[in-house]
């Protein structure tokens, strides 16, 4: 069995520098947006007192999901015995860590007072899902980097143990993130024990889809060969994950729609034809599950790398829509202080609120994502992450 040789990419091509430049500009735009939110207040965002959580939170939980999914791909060889995927382990583990760094940045920079970054460390509330998740996330980043270090050192036993710990931790992190929303009893569109597991399902689908795209283009642009059969295999995993995601979406919405108290909220979300139902059906259900599933299940398209890449792109976009649907509609719908009665007030009680992503928020989100990939691209240049001899190592 030939050992896999890893090496850093050269990183001196014009294309690479252009990529760094583009990601750098978008990252700077994101930091400017965060600075503007800090100095001018959240009035520069689309958020209001009715919808206090906006696009930054959507991006944060989206990145957390992508991270957990990437980590599972990384652990395929060490934990799940799929040795042929070992060539991806380093890249996937690095991306898992960087995506979570991005998620934490999105959360913290979205605070009204991000300069109080140290307060949560000194003043914790173990009952708060946010507080618990802060600990889970921080530990997760550390675990990911130690896991990566063990891979660099090629300590196989340690890699296996840390991989197992990392997968377990990824499940914790994701259940915890789902719990931030699912544990809120005050909002009927949030309160659900299904949110933690369905967060994991969407993490697996979006994380796998992202890995397919990232791996393909990383190898292509670095001029290294990649065994397409591996990506096709990931495509088949993605198909299975999509079934699980679809199951959760179905069961959650059927359960809620069945009970008359939820008729209004469900009608608003599913049938009203507003932007939220559009994002639900076209974005979350269509792009996130249905279209890519059709592509992957079809014998012709499901075996074509080009189509698998398209399916993956749809999932990556669709899960962003899914995260939006978790965060936003639950706030837009009025809280029922007086069930069954009509309420009018100066504070928009009883009426449906509105939320649109502002330019600053869009720049914020794009900037954080770009920064993650900027770090990724730089890491490829400075560390031995990419395998040189994929074909040989697989043939053994």
């Amino acid at each position: 069995m030939e050992k896999i040789r890893y090496s850093a990419i050269k990183g001196d091509s014009n294309g690479y520098l252009a990529l760094l430049g583009a990601l750098g500009v978008l990252s700077l735009g994101g930091f400017w947006a965060a600075w503007t939110m800090f100095t001018d207040g959240h009035s520069v965002t689309g958020m209001t007192n009715a919808v206090p959580w906006g696009f930054p939170i959507v991006v944060a939980i989206y990145l957390i999901g992508l991270s957990a999914g990437s980590l599972v791909i990384s652990a395929l060889s060490s934990v799940f015995g799929k040795k042929e995927f070992k060539v991806f382990s380093r890249i996937a583990a690095l991306l898992a860590a960087l995506l979570l760094v991005g998620a934490l940045m999105a959360i913290i920079l979205d605070w009204g007072r991000p300069e109080r970054i140290l307060v949560p460390f000194f003043s914790m509330n173990p009952r708060s899902m946010f507080s618990l998740n802060g600990m889970l996330y921080s530990a997760y980043i550390v675990i990911c980097f130690v896991y990566l270090w063990a891979m660099f050192e090629e300590r196989e036993k340690l890699v296996k143990a840390l991989g197992l710990l990392a997968v377990f931790w990824a499940v914790l992190v994701h259940s915890g993130t789902g719990a931030i929303f699912g544990f809120v009893g005050a909002r009927e569109l949030l309160h659900s024990p299904l949110l933690p597991p369905s967060f994991i399902a969407a993490a697996l689908s979006s994380g796998t889809a992202l890995m397919i795209i990232v791996l393909h283009f990383s190898f292509k642009w670095a001029g290294r060969t990649l065994d397409e059969a591996l990506l096709r295999q990931l495509g088949r995993y993605l198909m299975v994950f999509l079934i699980v995601v679809a199951y959760f979406i179905f069961i959650e919405n059927v359960t809620r729609s069945y009970w008359p108290a939820n008729y209004e909220a469900q009608k608003f979300l599913l049938l009203s034809g507003n932007k939220y139902s559009l994002i639900f059906w076209v974005g979350m259900v269509g792009c996130g599950v249905a279209f890519p599933f059709v592509i992957l299940v079809n014998r012709f398209t499901g075996g074509s790398l080009k189509w698998i890449l398209w399916a993956s792109a749809l999932v990556v976009g669709g899960v962003l829509a899914e995260r939006y649907i978790i965060v936003i509609p639950a706030q837009v719908m009025p809280v029922e202080i007086f069930p069954g009665m009509k309420v009018v007030s100066d504070f928009q009680d009883g009426s449906v609120a509105d939320y649109s992503i502002s330019l600053v928020e869009a720049m914020f989100g794009a900037g954080i994502v770009s920064f993650v990939f900027l770090l990724y691209a730089l890491a490829l240049k400075f560390f031995e992450l990419m395998p040189e001899n994929v074909e040989e190592s697989r043939e053994r």
Partner: protein
């Protein structure tokens, strides 16, 4: 170092940390009264008799704005609301609408406090749910968790600070009604209750729920007012008669 010393040290450290994040001239809010008025023998509560509260009257809202400098930015989506008037109408043909104030219900089991990652929201011994604005990081999870929409976020800076009895407003944190804790600690009643009694409809009764002889306790025994969304099990301490 004794346990108390250590805690004091950590607290002092925190205060320095929080203080460094404040602007000059901003005083720390006195969360606990020094004279022992704030004690577990007290459980502040409020009853609102909606039969007395008329639609025209907004004395409680104005008094609160004056007392606590609650800002109006001219844009309803950013305006601060510690107390607001709402018109509530049963879904029955020709039903009469009720007028009533909505404010923080100072729940016995406050979900805002449960979710607060930094424990910036806490309950005083006298049951008032308060926010330590220097510990609040502005994550707004509490606003998601509150079923009464009692909390507002400071979306913009404001330099206006007419009533110097209360701390200066700080951008980027969440705030809400605290039953005018600073007045209670001086032996006064909340500004909204005072205004309602003096120049309003006299629809508010405020007092100590733990004192069986207090007006509020007597009223509750005789009239059985109810909390809003009691099905949530939060045990609100603002009760309504006639909803």
């Amino acid at each position: 170092m004794t346990d108390m010393d250590r805690r004091g040290f950590v607290k002092a450290g925190l205060a320095v940390l929080a203080g460094s994040a404040l602007g000059p001239g901003v005083t720390l809010f006195q969360a606990f009264a020094e004279d022992g008025r704030e004690s577990s023998k007290t459980r502040w509560g409020m009853v609102i008799d909606t039969n007395k509260c008329s639609e025209k009257c907004t004395e409680c809202v104005s008094a609160c704005r004056t007392e606590n400098n609650v800002p109006l930015f001219g844009e309803p989506k950013y305006d601060g609301h510690w107390i607001r008037k709402a018109a509530v109408t049963p879904d029955v043909e020709g039903a009469k609408s009720m007028s009533l104030p909505l404010l923080c219900n100072h729940c016995e089991h406050p979900p805002c406090q449960h979710v607060c990652p930094t424990a910036a929201t806490f309950t005083r011994h006298d049951g008032i749910v308060m926010i330590d604005k220097h510990r609040c990081i502005g994550c707004r999870y509490c606003m998601i968790a509150c079923p009464y929409k009692a909390r507002t976020f400071v979306f913009k800076s404001t330099e206006e600070w007419p009533n110097k009895d209360v701390p200066k407003r700080s951008k980027g944190v969440v705030e809400k009604c605290h039953f005018c804790a600073h007045r209670l600690d001086k032996g006064q009643i909340p500004a909204c209750v005072e205004a309602c009694t003096k120049s309003g409809d006299g629809a508010m009764i405020f007092g100590n729920l733990k004192d069986p002889q207090s007006d509020i306790s007597k009223y509750i025994r005789e009239n059985a007012p109810r909390g809003l969304r009691e099905d949530f099990g939060l045990k609100p301490k603002v009760l309504y008669k006639g909803v």
